[in-house]
């Protein structure tokens, strides 16, 4: 019984991204509605698509190669470092930094800025949702 319980606990830690708070969930639902307008077959945001958006390299706003991982690193539970200023960036993953993905004003600000910096354009509603699912999925050790 103990083993089963332990297994269940371990499974829930690995498998479950914590749910968004109400404020963020409302924002995510809005992104879904917006995505459906231009993509009638859309079902839900996707962690794998988010990972691709987050880890791929692009010619950014400065005209040079950059990825989200340039500053945030590929390990979202670890500190990152601002590539321009050297300032340390706290981990993005909510599992390592409980303040992340909790404030819609902050989310909108950083999604706007960082899509511009990395992609040299705004992100679409679907891209924003995919990235949020990806960030939210990262727990320690994966």
């Amino acid at each position: 019984m103990k083993k089963i319980l332990l297994g269940m606990v371990a499974f829930s830690i690995i498998a479950s991204a914590a749910p968004f708070n109400a404020e963020v969930q409302t924002y995510v639902d809005g992104l879904k509605t917006e995505t459906k307008k231009s993509n009638s077959g859309f079902v839900d945001f996707d962690i794998a698509r988010g990972e691709q958006i987050f880890t791929s390299t692009h010619i950014g706003k400065k005209g040079t190669k950059i990825a989200c991982t340039t500053c945030h690193t590929a390990n979202l539970t670890a500190n990152g470092k601002n590539d321009h200023t050297g300032k340390v960036i706290d981990p993005l993953a909510p599992s390592a930094n409980s303040a992340r993905l909790t404030n819609v004003k902050d989310l909108k600000k950083w999604l706007r800025r960082n899509f511009n910096d990395v992609y040299n354009r705004e992100g679409s509603a679907q891209e924003k949702g995919d990235v949020l699912y990806y960030i939210n999925s990262k727990s320690k050790g994966n």
Partner: protein, 165 residues
């Protein structure tokens, strides 16, 4: 007794004059949160009003990155920055010197391009700045451990030691 009190007053006055607070420390939490999330929260007293006005007018193109904020926060910050700009803080030694060193026809956006700043950092080698413990001339606290208090005395360059200022 009177003499003793006078001495204490004079002495503490001298100590204050010798203390390093040359720029008014940042006192605005929004400023610390927003500007300080990407870089050292440079005191508004390091650039004149006209520089801050120009900078805050184009945060979407902030030294090559998008640092845009919503309109309300932009306005709140600009009001704080201009109220405490170098040319409004002439009672602080370094604000006064920064202000006076800038040609009135110039509107610098980089603190590191202000003549007074440049003259104070002219002896630094490139290696001192590019080493990983510093990385950039914008990383004030790397060498000025009390920079966030507006105190730029006590310069200590990592791996090189004290630099007299």
């Amino acid at each position: 007794m009177k003499k003793l009190i006078l001495m204490v007053v004079v002495l503490s006055g001298a100590m204050f004059a010798g203390s390093g607070v040359g720029v008014k420390p940042v006192s605005n939490q929004l400023y610390i949160n927003e500007c300080g999330s990407c870089h050292f929260a440079f005191q508004p007293g390091l650039l004149p009003q006209r520089s801050w006005t120009k900078m805050m007018g184009d945060l979407a193109n902030h030294f090559g990155t998008d640092a845009s904020l919503n309109k309300a926060d932009t306005a709140t910050l600009l009001a704080y920055m201009t109220l405490n700009a170098s040319d409004k803080s002439m009672n602080y030694k370094r604000s006064q010197r920064m202000t006076n060193s800038i040609n009135t026809s110039n509107t610098p956006l980089k603190i590191s391009e202000v003549p007074y700043f440049k003259s104070k950092h002219r002896e630094l080698s490139r290696a001192m700045i590019t080493q990983k413990e510093v990385g950039s001339i914008t990383n004030c606290v790397a060498c000025h451990s009390n920079a966030s208090k507006g105190d730029y005395h006590g310069t200590y360059v990592p791996n090189y030691g004290r630099v007299d200022d």
